[in-house]
């Protein structure tokens, strides 16, 4: 039994490393956004400046999620989920349509994407559920949380937003993996099947003809590749590959500068970065991401209670999923689904949500005490 003392500590070197990593990744994002959009009209301001503003809002969200006891935040999980479901219904009827999908709610000159926030809320809901509910049998371990996730998932898929829908499932799967399924063997099997997913996917997917893939993708996510023929995927692969070891330098990426690459500042920002900074740059970014996740997993393993641990695992697995799938799709390992690269891609909702999640993670770490059993 733990002594539920909540201790609020100040920053230590751990926190500084953690925040330093976040800042470095955000910086890489800003640089790449600026590089690919410097000659584009971003509306009221250049894209990189708008992203700076989003990071500002994100910092606020980070501080709020860090400062406020996560137990209190988790108690708001169900009401928050209700609000998110309402917003998801609202967006279906009143949302702004862009590229064939209806995902945005307009707020004056801005628009936000409720499905991004739904991911964080789902983590809170599942963590709250698993830490409170008695977990006996399949029904309570797998089916009930699955039913909890289902309405949000269906609403997101209806938009359609395959990327966010998959992240939803990924969060659920990660939670199942950590605490849902009892058998370690099953857990390991699940884990490996996730790990092998790219290869299985590539094998199955690669066996299909282009037009077959196109039909399937047009069915699940019509917003990408309207001209078809795997054009965007190819351009992205060419962008990354042509970066070679050292890259073409800032503003030097022909694929992205010539507008060959679609969505260069959002979903394909990794390809822009890889083209301009080469394999060396890519390794730097991967190391930064792995370090951030490593620290996050430390937080999970040292969380003082199950709620904290589950929150940490949920957040980490969501980030991992987004990073892997995004880089995988730009590198041509996965089909193209709209998942932004956390902290790097341009976008208000995603940036704020990622930073809020990381704030919550640090919150878990901040309130831990040596664990008592």
């Amino acid at each position: 039994m733990i002594n539920r003392v909540t201790e609020a500590r100040g920053f230590d070197t751990f926190d500084l490393r953690y925040i330093g990593l976040i800042a470095a990744i955000l910086g890489i994002g800003l640089l790449s956004i600026h590089s690919v959009t410097h000659d584009q009209d971003g509306g009221i301001a250049p894209y990189y400046l708008k992203q700076v503003a989003w990071i500002g809002v994100g910092t606020l969200a980070f501080i709020i999620m860090w400062a406020w006891d996560y137990h209190t935040i988790a108690r708001l999980a169900y009401p928050a989920y209700a609000v998110v479901l309402f917003l998801l219904v609202f967006v279906l009827f009143e949302g702004r349509t862009s590229k064939g999908a209806q995902r945005w709610i307009a707020l004056g000159p801005f628009s936000f994407q409720p499905s991004e926030f739904a991911k964080l809320v789902l983590i809170l809901v599942l963590a709250q559920y698993y830490s409170k509910a008695p977990r006996i049998g399949w029904l309570q371990r797998v089916i009930v949380p699955g039913l909890l996730m289902l309405p949000g998932l269906l609403l997101i898929l209806k938009q359609p937003d395959l990327g966010s829908g998959l992240s939803f499932v990924a969060v659920y799967a990660a939670m199942l993996l950590m605490v849902g399924v009892r058998s370690q063997a099953l857990g390991i099997a699940l884990l490996f099947s996730v790990m092998l997913f790219p290869f299985v996917w590539e094998g199955a997917w690669g066996a299909l003809h282009d037009y077959q893939r196109q039909r399937i993708m047009a069915f699940v996510d019509p917003s990408y590749d309207p001209s078809g023929k795997g054009y965007h995927a190819l351009q992205s692969r060419i962008a990354i590959g042509s970066g070679e070891l050292m890259g073409k330098g800032l503003f030097g990426g022909t694929q992205s500068q010539l507008k060959f690459l679609p969505e260069g500042h959002t979903d394909f920002v990794f390809a822009v970065y890889a083209e301009e900074w080469g394999f060396v740059g890519v390794l730097v970014l991967l190391v930064l991401f792995v370090s951030l996740i490593w620290l996050s997993l430390d937080i999970a393993s040292k969380a003082k209670d199950q709620l904290g641990a589950l929150l940490a695992v949920g957040i980490v697995s969501m980030l991992c999923f987004c990073i892997v799938v995004n880089i995988g799709m730009t590198a041509g390992m996965f089909p193209i689904v709209g998942i932004p690269l956390p902290l790097v891609s341009y976008g208000g909702s995603a940036t704020i949500m990622s930073m809020a999640s990381l704030g919550l993670l640090l919150n878990v770490k901040r309130r831990r005490l040596s664990l008592f059993y």
């Binding site: 733990i2 409170k132 692969r237 042509s242 394999f279 664990l371």
Partner: protein
């Protein structure tokens, strides 16, 4: 306990976390492997792809709007032609390419080099030559493999089916020059864009220009076009309907023949320019092509200055035609009454100088009427001397002299209506009293354009009501299909009594009936007019024929008809042809008679004429 770990669970959880870490590292390793594969193992291949897999933006020039005359006769259209472009980013050896192209097309290598160095981004292909012959186009296409980056595009080329007809009115087109491209109104143009350079083509350029579109072409490593995507369709320019009646226009040009000069005919009731001829002329088809510097020099150095629109840019002393506004001024300023007379004995003494009348023997006692009819100089010397230069200038300005008529043509010249203020400003000298006397008969510092004189006589014919002379009747919007008729633009009314105009028009009718312009007398319509003879050289000795032609006088005639309710006003100027009565008046008569014959035909309602009267109904070839 809720919210806390059991020890077993904690251990289980930690083990699973370790598995998660291992799994994560494996997945990241896979990603890194994949990226290593893309960037290092296949990096060179993808770099190659990225270099060759470039898009080339190709402009799609818009079709310029068509130009018709007032009855829908086609004056300017577009025909397809081949243009040669070079995409710079695909040229590996520029000098070798220049050499090959200059061999194939027999072009000056320096010319190609200059074209390749034109303004624009690296991705914008440079236009090297337009109006390629079919032979040249085929030649280039067949050498395509040796000429990386070279493309043949089919474009529309401006064409003027009438050749020299109305060339000064229509103008010509050409590539936007480097200076033009700097200007804000041409900000949406590119090197090689075609813009109007002269005439209506220039002044109405933004109507007829249209909007360029562009397509994106993907090319492979060998410069072959793989796929073209039209990103933005070009938008054709709007069509113009001119006020010109091409039949009158051609007649006016034929009447001038090989002589240098100008004829302007306008409708006094609305300012429509029915004909505006200037000779010598140029062929706009030639000028709209890319000219070699030599060709260009030939045109510019031509002594006849064919590019000069003598109707709106030629400045000549008005001679005795200036007596028309003088007569209005004299009556309105009460300098004379219609009945007061001046005795003309062939000369007017001012100080120790004698100003001669054209009639050495003199006209005897003349009043305003007879002074106009016989063009008595002494009468107007006297009147001018009484009025003074500044009062004359005031009335001259009322009639638009020394001022722009506002015609919709570029670079209109405004002539000079001298005054004391003008001389002080321009010549930095005080006005000399004797100079007033020369100006009184339209000599001295005074100059006007034929268009100004046509406008002046139209104003008199219309009892002082003046319209801005205009050349464009209507604009047809290509997108909406709307025909927008441009309204006539009133420019005010001369403040003079109707009686004054009545008296002067009577006198002008008598000029034709019994005066200096009897050769303009017509059997089908009453014509009023005034002759003029503009001195070129001050000193004249001996008979006209003995003087070299370039020192002979210019012949003027300004006229309107019918006298009772004028429908047409004409100004004729023929350079170095002597007397207005003999050289210019018959031309004006021909124009006026032709105009009434044509209107009679139309009102008689023959089917073709009725159809032609409806704008845009037919576009019969010229």
């Amino acid at each position: 306990m809720l919210g806390s770990y059991s020890e077993a669970e904690y251990g289980d959880f930690q083990r699973r976390l370790i598995l998660l870490r291992i799994g994560l590292l494996l997945v990241v390793a896979l990603l890194a492997l994949r990226l290593w594969h893309l960037q290092i193992r296949e990096g060179a291949y993808y770099r190659d792809l990225s270099e060759n897999n470039k898009t080339r933006q190709v402009l799609m020039e818009p079709a310029r709007g068509l130009i018709y005359d007032r009855h829908g006769v086609l004056l300017a259209n577009n025909v397809p032609s081949f243009s040669l472009y070079v995409a710079l980013d695909e040229v590996r050896d520029r000098e070798a390419l220049i050499e090959k192209l200059s061999d194939l097309l027999e072009l000056d290598p320096a010319f190609i080099r200059k074209k390749l160095g034109g303004k624009g981004g690296k991705l914008l292909p440079r236009k090297i030559k337009d109006r390629l012959t079919l032979r040249d186009a085929v030649l280039i296409e067949s050498h395509r493999l040796d000429l990386p980056g070279v493309m043949i595009q089919v474009e529309s080329q401006r064409n003027y089916p009438g050749g020299v007809t109305a060339s000064h009115v229509l103008g010509y087109v050409g590539e936007a020059s480097a200076e033009q491209l700097e200007k804000p109104e041409f900000s949406d143009l590119h090197q090689g864009s075609i813009v109007g350079q002269y005439g209506i083509e220039k002044s109405f350029d933004r109507y007829v220009r249209g909007q360029a579109g562009y397509k994106r072409i993907e090319v492979d490593a060998h410069g072959h076009e793989k796929k073209a995507v039209v990103v933005e369709k070009p938008q054709a320019g709007n069509d113009l309907y001119l006020t010109i009646d091409v039949r009158l226009q051609k007649l006016a040009e034929e009447l001038l023949g090989r002589e240098y000069g100008a004829i302007v005919a306008l409708d006094p009731t609305n300012g429509d320019i029915l004909a505006m001829a200037s000779r010598p002329a140029f062929d706009p088809n030639v000028l709209s092509r890319e000219l070699t510097p030599k060709q260009w020099a030939e045109i510019v150095q031509d002594e006849g200055r064919p590019l000069n629109n003598r109707a709106s840019q030629g400045q000549y002393p008005p001679g005795s035609t200036f007596k028309v506004p003088m007569a209005v001024a004299a009556l309105e300023s009460k300098t004379v009454s219609p009945f007061s007379t001046v005795t003309c004995n062939g000369g007017y003494q001012f100080g120790n100088r004698i100003f001669r009348d054209w009639k050495v023997t003199g006209h005897g006692a003349v009043n305003l009427h007879s002074a106009l009819v016989h063009s008595c100089d002494v009468y107007f010397y006297t009147v001018g001397q009484r009025m003074g230069i500044d009062l004359m200038a005031e009335f001259g300005k009322e009639f638009g002299l020394g001022q722009s008529t506002g015609v919709d043509l570029p670079s209109e010249r405004i002539g000079v209506m001298p005054s004391t203020a003008w001389k002080k400003k321009v010549k930095k000298e005080p006005w000399l009293p004797g100079e007033t006397i020369s100006v009184a008969i339209g000599q001295g510092y005074m100059t006007v354009t034929p268009l100004q004189m046509a406008n002046l006589i139209a104003t008199v014919a219309n009892d002082g009501v003046n319209y801005r002379p205009r050349l464009v009747l209507a604009v047809m919007d290509r997108i909406t299909g709307n025909l927008q008729e441009l309204p006539a633009v009133p420019r005010g009314k001369i403040n003079a009594k109707p009686e004054t105009f009545r008296l002067i028009k009577e006198a002008l009718a008598d000029v034709v009936k019994v005066g200096t312009a009897t050769r303009a007398k017509s059997s089908i319509v009453t014509i009023g007019g005034k002759t003029g003879t503009a001195q070129v050289a001050a000193l004249r000795t001996g008979p006209e024929e003995s003087i070299p032609k370039k020192f002979r006088d210019h012949a003027w005639f300004i006229a309107f008809a019918p006298v009772e309710s004028p429908k047409i006003a004409v100004a004729v100027l023929v350079e170095h042809m002597g007397h207005g009565g003999s050289a210019a008046a018959p031309l004006a008569k021909e124009i006026i008679e032709a105009y009434f014959k044509l209107t009679d035909e139309q009102s008689a309602g023959t089917t073709s004429a009725a159809a032609a009267d409806r704008i845009g109904a037919t576009s019969e070839p010229l």
